[in-house]
């Protein structure tokens, strides 16, 4: 029999970037702290620890979430993608490559969150999800043109105090255009 855990802890298995990690966590531990303090996945950043800045954005089952407002024990069974899992081996994700080429950052601290957010934005948009600035929100209207205004609105949960917004928007647009080219080539 396994040694008894204190009643304030549990053993969980987290599925992160396609790998399973089993660990015992204090029930108060956020997903963010579990990633950073327990699993040495420090690419996910803590900017405010209260869901206001977006620096800790990860993907949960493909949808973006601020990991500071998720308890680690509640993340069991979810597919978690962090910035460390965005690239395919040595090949950067088009969003990462565009941030690098177009200088979509300065200090780099909000960058993992911006990139995770942008990856999900492209998927949300492709799936036809409207935003607050979408003109025609009827389901049959399909995805709206991914204008700078659409990108700005959809990325607004991620603060960048260095003020890299202009090049971040350019980077997201370029990654979207690259993605379309890929889709066309595949078709």
């Amino acid at each position: 029999m396994a040694p008894a855990l204190p009643p304030t802890s549990s053993t969980v298995t987290l599925n992160i970037n396609g790998e399973k990690h089993t660990l015992t966590v204090d029930h108060r531990t956020t997903l963010l702290d579990a990633l950073r303090e327990r699993l040495d996945l420090t690419g996910t950043k803590k900017g405010c620890d209260q869901g206001q800045c977006g620096a800790c954005t990860v993907l949960l089952d493909g949808r973006r979430a601020v990991s500071c407002l998720q308890l680690a024990v509640a993340a069991e069974g979810r597919e978690i993608t962090t910035i460390e899992g965005v690239a395919e081996g040595d090949r950067l994700h088009p969003v990462q490559q565009a941030f690098l080429d177009l200088d979509g950052y300065q200090c780099g601290y909000c960058t993992p969150g911006q990139i995770c957010s942008a990856v999900a934005v492209l998927e949300e948009h492709a799936a036809g999800w409207p935003s607050a600035v979408t003109g025609d929100v009827r389901p049959e209207a399909g995805p709206p043109p991914l204008t700078a205004e659409e990108i700005r609105e959809r990325m607004s949960g991620n603060l960048c105090r260095c003020g890299a917004y202009v090049s971040i928007v350019e980077a997201v647009a370029r990654a979207a255009a690259d993605g379309e080219k890929h889709t066309e080539a595949a078709a």
Partner: protein, 709 residues
């Protein structure tokens, strides 16, 4: 890839180059101060005062020490003593960093204890459970422009300058203006909170920190803890923004104390809310500008007085009137920077200290004068271009302000502008355009560097720079490559480690210029050595430099970057919403080392200007003395949706007295930007907003009748 064949040399400086650490930043591999693991790491959590003034009468530490995982509770009754009676690299230290030395509480959010525990969860719960009793005294945080206890202060410039007879020149002026402009309390709000891990390693104190200069932090900690500087090492490789706030703060000192007491590594990370009272901020200002001019707009009288607040225990002056000493001359010219002491935390340098709020007041006043004189705002500035420093009388080392205005006006489409306000409409939006001038000092601080020619044909540059997001690591790579006549991929730059030796901080737009000077000097001498063709031994050939003497030999001149800011806004006077549709900034900021990253810095500065004009305001509650909503939901910084088209570019502007031609681009972008937005809001609506930020309620109040808000 390096090859043995000699390449054709092409200049790297001036060619866009992605950040050399870019791949680490986009993959999450770049490690910041709070990201580096240590065996046996303990976590410290600061406890801050809940009263604005008084004394700590007691702390109930026993129940907290009995909580799971708690290792220590440090407070004024048991913390190690530190030395504060020294003058640091930049000034006398702000006693806020010298934590737990006495029982006095001078403001709300003053550090009163550090709880250290095995896990962050335990430390946080225990810190929140610590009961502290206070003898409370009445506090005063009421800031206004008419405080009778205001007094002038010399900061890094004289408090007061004056020449001529102001009253006589105002009386003789055909057109006069006398207005008060106010700016609110603003916070740096860099995305990475202050974080430090301290540990003793073989008799040496090591600190992994996030700061704007490891040599600076090392020398201050050595003095505080009475240690030999050589026995303190501070490292800070990646820094998630600083903007003036990341110097010596409470967290580093508390971490060193705890690591010393517990003899194990201790990390202290500030919470976002703690940052609002522990990391400095830009003081609110109340600025009075009086102008007198002839009918043709030539200034006869200029007075700029700025008042800011400071704490009761440390003097910090926000030198907002200093910008008038550079920008405009008049027969009678008076400037004054004054402070008033209140029961608040000490403010500090924040991106373009002085120039950011000062340019809002002065450049709005110039726009109002242009309106009164019926002269185009750019023409008014052209008519008031000084030939020498208005106060110093010194020659300018380049003053390309009008070139910036000419290029900006052309690209922005200024020539077609109808100067009359309130005429243009686009649906529910009133449209307007505005402009403002910008300036920021160009300086350099003494620095050292070492450049090594390695046996494999590559080069290693060691310079204790801090890359806080400026792109310094990349800029120095390019500067070194040119100085060594090699390709950037053959140069490795090591920075952010106090063991590398003394160097400038990343601040005052001086970093890249200061470090580049040292790197250029060492590289030049290294090339001479290599020319002797004696071969490179396995340990390489290293040349060191120190720029102290060269900087001391520079002639006294007015050395500044300049710029012209343009903004187009849309204002909905029925909702109070203001949108900045586009901004253009043209700068004369010396030679641009890396156009890719320099543009990012300039645009980022302009976005700070949008944010300052429309969003940022930390509001204090007079009853408690603390903030309402001290977090990023209560304190608004611009986000994606607030920022439209923002472009920055530059005119040719080489500083011949700098080895590379650099002037500095870190701060000029924010200067004048808020004024350009406010002037555009006037052009859209016909209402002058002299209080920042231009909030929806202020726009609505103006639309409801009050024309000047």
């Amino acid at each position: 890839m390096t090859t043995a064949t000699r390449r054709t040399f092409t200049e790297a400086v001036g060619t866009p180059h992605p950040r050399v650490e870019g791949r680490d930043k986009v993959t999450g591999a770049a490690r910041y101060a709070g990201d580096i693991p240590f065996a046996g790491l303990a976590h410290g959590w600061l406890v801050l005062s809940t009263v604005a003034r008084g004394r700590i009468s007691s702390l109930e530490t026993a129940p907290v020490l009995a909580m799971p995982g708690v290792l220590a509770v440090l407070h004024h009754g048991n913390a190690p003593r530190v030395e504060t009676g020294y003058t640091g690299m930049l000034s006398v230290p702000d006693p806020t960093a010298a934590v737990f030395q006495h029982d006095r509480v001078p403001h709300l959010g003053w550090p009163v204890a550090l709880v250290v525990a095995t896990t962050p969860e335990q430390a946080r719960e225990a810190a929140e459970a610590l009961v502290v009793h206070y003898d409370v005294e009445p506090h005063d945080i009421a800031f206004s422009g008419d405080r009778p206890d205001a007094y002038p202060v010399d900061g890094h410039m004289p408090g007061v300058t004056e020449k001529g007879d102001l009253a006589a020149q105002l009386a003789a002026s055909a057109v006069t203006l006398d207005e008060e402009y106010t700016t609110p309390e603003m916070h740096h709000s860099m995305m990475e909170p202050h974080a430090a891990t301290a540990r003793w390693d073989g008799g040496r104190l090591e600190l992994i920190d996030s700061n704007q200069g490891t040599h600076w932090v090392q020398s201050e900690l050595a003095q505080m803890f009475s240690l030999d500087p050589g026995s303190v090492r501070v490292r800070s490789e990646h820094v998630g923004g600083g903007f003036g706030s990341k110097g010596v703060r409470a967290h580093q000192v508390a971490a060193v104390m705890a690591a010393t007491v517990l003899q194990r590594p201790v990390r202290v990370v500030m919470t976002r809310r703690q940052m609002f009272s522990l990391t400095g901020y830009r003081s609110p200002t109340a600025q009075r500008v009086r102008l007198g001019a002839d009918a043709d707009g030539r200034l006869r009288a200029l007075e700029h007085r700025s008042l800011n607040l400071t704490s009761t225990f440390h003097e910090y002056v926000e030198p907002s009137a200093g910008v008038a000493r550079v920008m405009y001359d008049a027969d009678a010219h008076r400037t004054a920077n004054e402070v008033v002491r209140l029961d608040v935390p000490t403010p500090t340098w924040m991106r373009a200290p002085g120039e950011a709020p000062g340019s809002f007041a002065l450049e709005c006043a110039l726009d109002e004068l242009a309106e009164k004189c019926g002269i185009d705002p750019i023409e008014l500035r052209a008519r008031n271009e000084p030939e020498r420093g208005p106060v110093s009388g010194l020659p300018f080392a380049g003053r390309n302000l009008l070139a910036c205005f000419r290029e900006g006006a052309r690209r922005f489409g200024w020539a077609d502008r109808d100067p009359r306000p309130g005429l243009r409409r686009d649906g529910r939006w009133l449209l307007g355009t505005g402009t403002a001038a910008a300036s920021f000092p160009s300086g350099a601080l003494p620095s050292t560097a070492a450049v090594t020619a390695e046996a494999d044909g590559t080069f290693t540059v060691r310079v204790n720079a801090a890359d806080i997001g400026t792109g310094a690591r990349t800029a120095l790579t390019l500067v070194a490559a040119d100085a060594l006549e090699t390709a950037p991929d053959r140069v490795r730059v090591r920075l952010g480690d106090s063991d590398l030796g003394p160097a400038s901080i990343a601040g005052g737009s001086m970093g890249t210029r200061s470090w580049s000077w040292a790197v250029t000097a060492a590289a030049a001498e290294l090339r001479e050595r290599l020319a002797l063709n004696t071969g490179i031994p396995p340990e390489g050939i290293t040349v060191r430099s120190d720029t102290t003497e060269a900087l001391g030999a520079l002639a006294q001149k007015e050395r500044h970057s300049f710029g012209a800011q343009f903004a187009e806004v849309a204002v909905d006077v029925t909702t109070g919403e203001v949108r900045v549709r586009r901004m253009l900034g043209i700068f004369a900021a010396g030679r641009i080392v890396n156009p890719l990253t320099a543009r990012s810095q300039l645009v980022g500065g302009m976005i700070w200007g949008i944010s300052m004009a429309l969003h940022e305001e930390a509001v204090r509650d007079r009853a408690s003395g603390g903030h309402y909503g001290a977090d990023l939901a209560g304190y608004h910084v611009a986000t994606h949706a607030d920022v439209g088209r923002v472009e920055a570019d530059w005119v040719e502007d080489h500083d011949p007295e700098d080895p590379v031609g650099i002037k500095g681009v870190g701060e000029i972008g924010v200067v004048g930007a808020a004024a350009a937005v406010a002037n555009a809001v006037w052009h859209a609506t016909g209402v002058r907003h002299r209080a920042l930020p231009i909030r929806p309620d202020r726009v609505l109040a103006a639309a409801a009748g009050g024309r000047h808000v």
